[in-house]
Symmetry: C2
Subunit: 240 residues, 2 copies
């Protein structure tokens, strides 16, 4: 097999596979995401990906160094989809809120991919561009870099943390997901009030609320905090 993967841009000879498919990094990533969505994390194996593409599994090693490299490419594609079509309005708060909600939504749209790539740093183009954009929004609001970085850090961590947590609930393999849901009805809902009075008293409310995300609320809390920091910065240096 190849020692080195040829960068996508340098590919010249596009040779169709036996099944007549012309491979590309893009096609492989898209197919991998489709497999993830269809059959969950367990559904994505090199062999099955090869089969789904109509190519020998070992062909994929011409495009990715290994499974981990493919994972990073999927991570970058997720961020890319979140950012696609976004444009700054000039209102930092609206922009940041929109960015947060877009990332959250993009992850929830592909929960298995989101969990698979949780907290990886791909260093690929889309990820870098997103970071550049977020930092730019905060810096344009007139914050000193120290505060920019504090809020950037909280923003990106909180967004990814909720995105992954919310995605994880959707991403469980059907069996595990069914088991987890059954726990609520079979275990929690049947706890006697004598031993677990607080759960017993609130179980209907708990069940009703469990499927919503707390992210929007948390995001607004963070934006309030950022607004206060901006007001402070303006008061300290009105010329800025």
């Amino acid at each position: 097999m190849a020692k080195e993967v040829v960068p996508e841009a340098a590919r010249k000879r596009r040779k169709p596979t036996k099944a007549g498919v012309v491979l590309s990094e893009q096609l492989i990533v898209e197919t991998a995401m489709r497999l993830l969505q269809q059959s969950g994390r367990e559904g994505l194996t090199v062999r099955r990906l090869g089969a789904a593409l109509g190519a020998d599994p070992s062909s994929l090693y011409r495009y990715f160094r290994g499974a981990d490299d493919l994972t990073l490419a999927i991570a970058d594609e997720l961020i890319g989809r979140a950012m696609r079509g976004w444009e700054a309005t000039g209102d930092w708060r609206a922009d940041l809120r929109e960015l947060g909600m877009r990332i959250h939504s993009a992850y929830l749209a592909h929960p298995q991919a989101a969990v698979l790539t949780a907290s990886r740093v791909s260093g690929r183009a889309n990820e870098i561009d997103a970071d550049e954009v977020i930092l730019g929004v905060l810096r344009s609001a007139g914050l000193p870099d120290r505060e920019v970085v504090r809020i950037y850090h909280a923003f990106i961590d909180q967004t990814l943390a909720f995105a992954v947590l919310d995605a994880a609930g959707l991403a469980l393999p059907p069996a595990a997901r069914a088991a987890d849901e059954a726990v609520w009805h079979a275990t929690y809902a049947r706890l006697p009030a004598e031993t677990h009075p607080n759960i017993a008293a609130t179980v209907p409310l708990l069940v009703a609320r469990m499927n919503n995300s707390a992210y929007p609320t948390a995001l607004d809390m963070l934006l309030d905090n950022a607004a206060a920091a901006i007001a402070r910065a303006r008061a300290a240096d009105p010329g800025a």
Copy 2:
């Protein structure tokens, strides 16, 4: 192999393995967590767990239905460790803060285990007890159940979300972790100011801040929000 796993409490015949070890659910879970800590997620396989215990891999299926069942047991042990020794002080805010920090710390102490068990609902004893305790703290503060559940939901999701995100950074296999860190120095730190001015301007600050958790700040935001809700409830119904 056994159709059904014998519950730990019902075990009578404790037969040592060839290597002289007497198995138990507790011993297996502890050994699994040790393997996770030593060699990461890839280090925990049924075969290696058997070897580490001095038992045939298939013996473990007498204690757990499969790998997923073992995962849930690890999840429950993690929560159990977070709660061990905790006692209510009667001050809801201090209690809730302490609970959040304990869960966060317990996860960070076993990052690989934290990631492995991310967002699973075990329904086992320790998890149920923790939920009962948290709900109890909020209800004792004089909130109506509707608000209790709203804040409980945000609290537990935010805590687990940050715990898992922060743990994930520590939990990467050494190779991947090294790769991710290298990205910061090899890729981000070298981006030219012409194309990525905002990253270039803030990179030293970013690198310095990256290793801290934003969880304590986010937790305090949530506690502020809860305090406001409690004040509202008291104003609306002074008799409560």
